[in-house]
């Protein structure tokens, strides 16, 4: 009885290899071979709903298709003939038809909205599941905004086609029924009507094209306007702090006026369509009247029949209009389907594993760079080029490199015909290239060993559980403070407090009046960069993984607080393996071992004191931070201790 939202099981079941497969029968997984197949698959999933919609809408339209006929009988045989019993009997039938029709209308509107929602939610859920299944792999390949637009606006387009599909079938049935009735009553009038009604709709289409063009221009300008509003709001701090309110207020007003003009143009075309509708409908009615009266006068038609024809003429516009609407929705849904399958057809690149290796705790070694982390120790990676350290951290956690170009799912709406087709093909080819590249990387040995076993041999979920990489882009999710720190509800309050304390987040705690139930906005808005960073750190600490890899965990934190964290964290992690990338001396003093990375290779390793004494390039990187010691750790900094330089220096140490 629960029609929506649908339960979706595709893309969620995790197999032993870390890849995923459908949990339920094959039909759960969308058919992504072509846009048409996808839309048909989607409609097939809710065939029952569509069938019910068709029946209900046909019933709903019964009063429209039958009542004119009954009214004819009442007028001819009841009212004109003065026959009371015919009148009330047929009126009663009419009432019954109306009541049934209204009931069907109510039910049909509910069912067709349900049909819409089922389809829309199905696609939204599929996208969510696909993104979760592919996780970091897909966010490297497709811009986030594109995936989100599939989950919202394209999903909505599928809702629209699912909703209108049943309506189209019903319209077809009603049209047939009415055709039979009118042709049986009067062939000539019937033919005129059956030809004229579609003709009217076709006649208004020439005005529809400029209308659509005007609408597109308006939409484009209007979305640009919205973009400007968002732009102003996001930069409001600067506009109010530095100035520029007039310039950007005026820019907005100018664009607003150009939207207004486009809107008036659209409105005028609407007016044309409306006016043409009025005139053509009226002309049909007048024509019918003239023809009808002539027939009546010749005795070929009764007055009741003529009144009935008016009813049909008005009614027939509904199914015809429905056909045209549905046609547009169908085209739109095919475009959306092309985008959607671009996302849903992607599969995780990880190869299937024949057997899962059982691996104990042990040394973690990255063979390409020669990096070694001993179990239970705090090992720090130092590099003049932060991207090098971050890339090593990614490799340690079996993350594919971030440096590939993202490919959009859709193509510009301005493209038409063969140019559009070519663009679609170009996108598909670029995606295929991404897939090949990732699969090559993911196949075979990974180059990182844990206790002597390549981590490609370990199931991916286990790798994720045992080796946790907290990258610089780690996201703070909205919710309560408690759900932020302990998202899986897997730890006690005691442990959570200790993690918070180790990350020196006392001031964040104080910022919330409701303690653990304090609300954090999406992406940690409202927290400062340093606060966000310490929340992320506390969250990672609480998870307590066997190996924790932290990328620049305190880059946005002041020296006092950093010193405090550097003192507390080693205690918290004692006995566990911790790897960190940073160049801050406050951390380096705490390290059990340091690996100095140059050009992606470990050049030297040892303790901080060791390296400071014996490795000048290392000293250069650490002492004056990294701004003047460029890649390769060249010259020691030529210290020019002006405040200006040092400000730039400290900025260099910061990463978001």
């Amino acid at each position: 009885m629960k029609l929506f939202p649908p339960d979706i099981h595709a893309y969620t079941q995790v197999t032993s290899t870390g890849a995923t497969a459908a949990a339920r029968p094959d039909e759960e997984v969308p058919d992504t071979r072509s846009p048409l197949r996808f839309v048909l698959w989607l409609l097939w999933q809710q065939k029952g709903l569509i069938a019910i919609t068709t029946i209900l809408i046909s019933v709903w339209w019964l009063p429209g298709s039958l009542n004119p006929r009954i009214l004819t009988m009442v007028i001819d045989q009841g009212i004109i003939a003065g026959n009371w019993s015919v009148t009330w009997r047929w009126t009663l039938v009419m009432v019954a038809i109306i009541v049934v029709g209204v009931a069907a209308n109510t039910a049909a509107s509910n069912i067709s909205v349900s049909s819409w929602l089922v389809s829309m939610f199905r696609v939204t859920k599929l996208v969510a599941r696909k993104v979760t299944q592919m996780s970091h792999v897909v966010t490297r390949r497709v811009p986030a905004g594109e995936m989100l637009s599939v989950a919202s606006s394209d999903a909505d387009a599928f809702g629209a086609i699912a909703e209108s599909f049943g309506r189209v079938l019903a319209a077809f049935l009603s049209f047939l029924l009415v055709s039979v009735i009118v042709l049986r009553e009067h062939v000539m009038l019937g033919l005129v009507m059956l030809i004229a009604t579609p003709l009217i709709v076709i006649l208004t289409t020439p005005a529809l094209r400029p209308l659509q063009r005007a609408q597109m221009v308006e939409r484009e300008r209007s979305s640009k306007l919205t973009g400007m509003a968002v732009d102003i709001v996001s930069g409001l701090r600067i506009l109010r702090g530095v100035g520029g309110e007039r310039t950007f207020g005026d820019n907005y007003a100018r664009q607003s006026q150009s939207v207004r003009q486009a809107g008036v143009r659209t409105g005028s075309w609407w007016a044309v369509v409306d006016a043409m509708g009025t005139v053509t409908n009226g002309a049909l009615l007048v024509g019918l009247t003239w023809l009808g009266l002539r027939e009546v006068q010749l005795g070929h038609l009764t007055i009741g029949e003529m009144v009935g024809f008016f009813g049909y003429a008005m009614f027939l516009q509904r199914p015809v209009q429905t056909f045209f609407d549905a046609f547009q929705k169908w085209t739109a849904s095919l475009v959306s389907a092309e985008k959607t399958i671009g996302l849903l057809s992607q599969e995780p690149p990880w190869p299937a594993q024949s057997s899962a290796a059982v691996v104990a705790e042990g040394q973690l070694i990255d063979h390409p760079s020669g990096f070694v982390a001993d179990p239970g120790q705090l090992t720090i990676i130092v590099s003049a080029v932060p991207d090098d350290s971050a890339a090593l951290a990614d490799r340690l956690g079996r993350y594919l490199p971030a440096d590939i170009e993202r490919v959009d799912l859709g193509v510009s709406r301005e493209l038409k015909g063969s140019a559009e087709k070519q663009e679609w093909q170009k996108r598909a080819a670029a995606r295929a290239q991404q897939v090949r590249q990732d699969e090559t990387l993911a196949a075979g040995d990974w180059g990182v060993t844990l206790d002597g076993v390549d981590i490609a041999q370990i199931p991916l979920p286990e790798v994720r559980r045992r080796i946790q990489v907290s990258d610089a882009g780690a996201v703070v999710f909205a919710g309560t403070l408690q759900s932020l720190i302990d998202p899986l509800h897997s730890h006690s309050r005691d442990q959570a407090e200790q993690a918070l304390w180790a990350a020196s987040a006392e001031d964040v705690w104080d910022a919330f009046a409701d303690g653990w139930q304090g609300r954090i906005d999406e992406r940690g808005r409202g927290l400062s960069g340093g606060q966000r960073q310490r929340m992320v750190l506390a969250r990672s600490l609480l998870l307590d993984p066997e190996v924790l890899v932290l990328v620049e965990p305190t880059s946005a934190v002041d020296a006092h607080t950093e010193a405090r964290i550097a003192e507390r964290l080693p205690d918290f992690r004692s006995g566990r393996t911790t790897i960190m990338t940073t160049v801050s001396p406050l951390w380096l003093r705490q390290a059990d071992a340091i690996a100095f990375l140059v050009d992606g290779q470990v050049l030297a390793s040892g303790s901080h004191a060791d390296l400071m004494a014996n490795c000048p390039p290392y000293r250069a990187v650490v002492v004056r931070d990294d701004s003047q010691a460029t890649a390769g750790g060249g010259d020691a900094a030529s210290a020019s201790p002006t405040a200006a330089d040092s400000t730039a220096d400290h900025l260099a140490g910061e990463r978001r």
Partner: protein, 652 residues
């Protein structure tokens, strides 16, 4: 972790034990009753449905209340303010409004004459007239009707076009007013306001207001006019046949009012549910890497499913409301057709009505349903629009945070005296801090997070007013300076490298937008070493940059931000490192630009990095809202306090 630290932790996290909840989140969970699949037997089904409907109604009411009384964020205007605002806007274009109504009336009247003429033709034919003469008369009348149709078509075009001009003009004026209000938000409010709240207001709420003004209001007028004219037509045609309509109107009015009483809350809550779904899905997609790393996949999917479930609940609620409305509307709208048959029989047999009148009545009845549909749809949209408009006007309702005076600073000397400040009442984050800046000096402020150093910076830059004490520049309270003046005295450098959509010139001249020559812009760009790449741009200063236009590298964006400050030319800069996070590569690129900006100015650097402090003329160590140590690097080292301790840790 040892016992001693644990005790310390307990004392640090005040209220921890009271607010920790074991087990999964309850806050957002839906009532279990709503999630279970209902039984399939009739009575339990019906009973279950009504009780679930009541639950949904209370969810909707709660959602509506939450939207009207937000816990955080900007205020919401009263409904009376909204109606005054709309009234004023209509008044400003009263001629258009008048023309709109007149054109619509005329179009509707022309349309209403048609069934009358039709009826009279039928009467003639029914009366048994025949022959060529009759047909000639019919043809003539048909030609007249056709002519009327054309007139109606022209009038319809006119009416709709006027509606477009009226609505578009009004919505443009409305949104421009809103953006001006945003651009007037008090400085202290801007710093704390949630960007998300403002973004929703300038996007979704502006959209809702637009839909109301552009579409709903004119369509409502058209609907009412057509309905009234059709009703008049029906009564003029035959009062006898119009009698059943009285009942129809009564039922309709009741059903529509019943619907409108509860529907807006449902739709507003539904909209909120969808935007929650969007927000959490955005987080999941953008944070996919974190989701994977933390093993949150299942939880994020549950969250999405739960958001979809919430939206579904509201869909069910509004669906039920619509079902009720449609049922009454359908019955009240269509049953009169049957009534016309009965009344027609009686009337015809008594000689009160003619066949023509009966025919005309049936045509009128069918013409009536369109306007009624329109009115219902638009009234609903208008209620949503009013609620959005009240959120928009709320932006203008934020009180100003400063009153300007005519006093102007005598010199560039910036002093803070006895500064006390609290974000939350009763929780001072600064206590009686005094600081005398020597013009031209570089002062570094260091201290642990939460010690109040950033707050101190904001007070010195005149962004927030201290609860007690005063910040003066050249003997004048900074909070009494007009913003235009303040910006040229002292600036808070946040280094958010936001690039606005606009030309490079637009992006640079911010502080002195009224009096900046191209030459000055080039000078500023040269000062920050950006002249090279700007001159290579296709349109030079007129090159459009910002999102969706020519993209700048982070370094270039940073240089643009610095050039803005060169144009503003304040004598004192407050640099807050906490908000000036840029990546190392960018930092290297703008190093030179930065130093040329700082040259010759008083600089207060809220420092994260110790060598910033080391290189400064003086260092202030802020701890627990007080300046604990103040002096040069060497003096503080000699003092052997907090700073010395930290320095040792850094350098050893």
């Amino acid at each position: 972790m040892n016992q001693q630290e644990l005790v310390q932790g307990d004392a640090l996290f005040e209220g921890s034990a009271q607010t920790w909840v074991d087990g999964p989140d309850q806050a957002d969970a839906l009532p279990q009753e709503l999630l279970a699949a209902p039984a399939l037997r009739f009575w339990p089904l019906l009973k279950g449905f009504t009780s679930r409907h009541r639950r949904r109604a209370s969810l909707a009411a709660a959602g509506y209340q939450a939207s009207r009384h937000p816990k955080r964020g900007l205020p919401i205007a009263e409904n009376s303010t909204v109606s005054r605002f709309i009234g004023r806007m209509i008044k400003e274009r009263h001629w258009l409004a008048f023309g709109l109504i007149v054109a619509n009336c005329l179009a509707a009247i022309t349309g209403a004459i048609m069934p009358q003429l039709l009826g009279s033709m039928i009467d003639r034919v029914a009366a048994g007239h025949s022959g060529d003469q009759l047909m000639a008369w019919v043809t003539g009348l048909c030609a007249v009707v056709l002519g009327l149709m054309l007139v109606q078509g022209i009038l319809t075009f006119l009416a709709r076009r006027l509606a477009a001009i009226f609505g578009q003009g009004m919505v443009a004026a409305g949104r421009e007013y809103v953006i001006r209000a945003v651009l007037k938000l008090p400085l202290s409010k801007v710093e704390t306001a949630s960007t998300g709240d403002l973004v929703t207001r300038v996007t979704r709420d502006v959209g809702n207001m637009g839909a109301m003004v552009r579409w709903a209001m004119p369509t409502f007028v058209i609907g009412v006019v057509s309905l009234v004219v059709t009703l008049i037509g029906i009564f003029v045609n035959s009062w006898w046949l119009a009698l059943p309509l009285v009942l129809t109107l009564a039922v309709m009015t009741w059903a529509v009012r019943d619907y409108l009483r509860v529907a807006p809350a449902g739709y507003i809550t539904e909209g909120a549910a969808y935007s929650r779904l969007n927000t959490s899905l955005t987080e999941t997609v953008e944070g996919a890497r974190s989701v994977e790393a933390l093993g949150l996949g299942r939880r994020r999917l549950d969250l999405t499913d739960n958001d979809i479930e919430s939206a579904s609940q509201m869909e069910r609620y509004t669906m039920a409301l619509r079902a009720k409305l449609f049922t009454w509307q359908g019955l009240a709208g269509q049953l009169p057709m049957a009534a016309v048959a009965i009344m027609g029989f009686i009337g015809y047999s008594q000689g009160w009505v003619t066949l023509g009148q009966i025919t005309a009545a049936t045509v009128y009845l069918q013409q009536m349903n369109g306007p009624i549909d329109r009115i219902i749809m638009t009234v609903n949209q208008m209620q949503i629009g009013v609620s959005s408009t009240s959120r928009l006007l709320g932006i203008a309702a934020v009180p100003a945070d400063r009153q300007t005076s005519d006093q102007r600073p005598a010199d560039q000397h910036l002093v803070g005296r006895d500064l006390t400040f609290a974000y939350r009442p009763g929780r001072d984050v600064l206590h009686d801090v005094s600081l005398d800046l020597r013009p031209g000096e570089r002062l570094a402020v260091v201290g642990p997070s939460g010690s109040g150093k950033s707050t101190l910076g904001r007070l010195l830059a005149g962004i927030n007013a201290p609860r007690q004490g005063v910040v003066e520049v050249g003997g004048v309270d900074v909070m009494t300076l007009p913003l235009q003046q303040l910006r040229t005295e002292v600036a808070l450098v946040t280094q958010e490298h936001h690039v606005f959509v606009g030309t490079i010139r637009d992006n640079v001249i911010l502080a002195r937008e009224d009096a900046t020559s191209d030459e000055a812009v080039w000078q500023a760009l040269t000062a920050v070493e950006a002249d090279g790449w700007v001159s290579r741009m296709p349109d030079g200063l007129d090159t459009m940059i910002g999102s969706g236009r020519t993209a700048l590298t982070p370094g270039q964006a940073q240089q643009v931000a610095l050039a803005r400050l060169v144009i503003a030319d304040p004598h004192t800069l407050v640099l807050d490192e906490a908000t000036s996070l840029i990546d190392p590569t960018t930092a290297r690129e703008v190093e030179g630009s930065m130093s040329s900006l700082l040259g010759g100015r008083t600089v207060v650097a809220i420092a994260h990095r110790l060598h910033t402090a080391h290189d400064a003329d003086r260092i202030a160590v802020v701890i627990d809202g007080r300046i604990a140590e103040l002096g040069s690097h060497d003096e503080l080292l000699a003092l052997g306090g907090e700073y010395a301790k930290l320095w040792m840790a850094w350098t050893s």
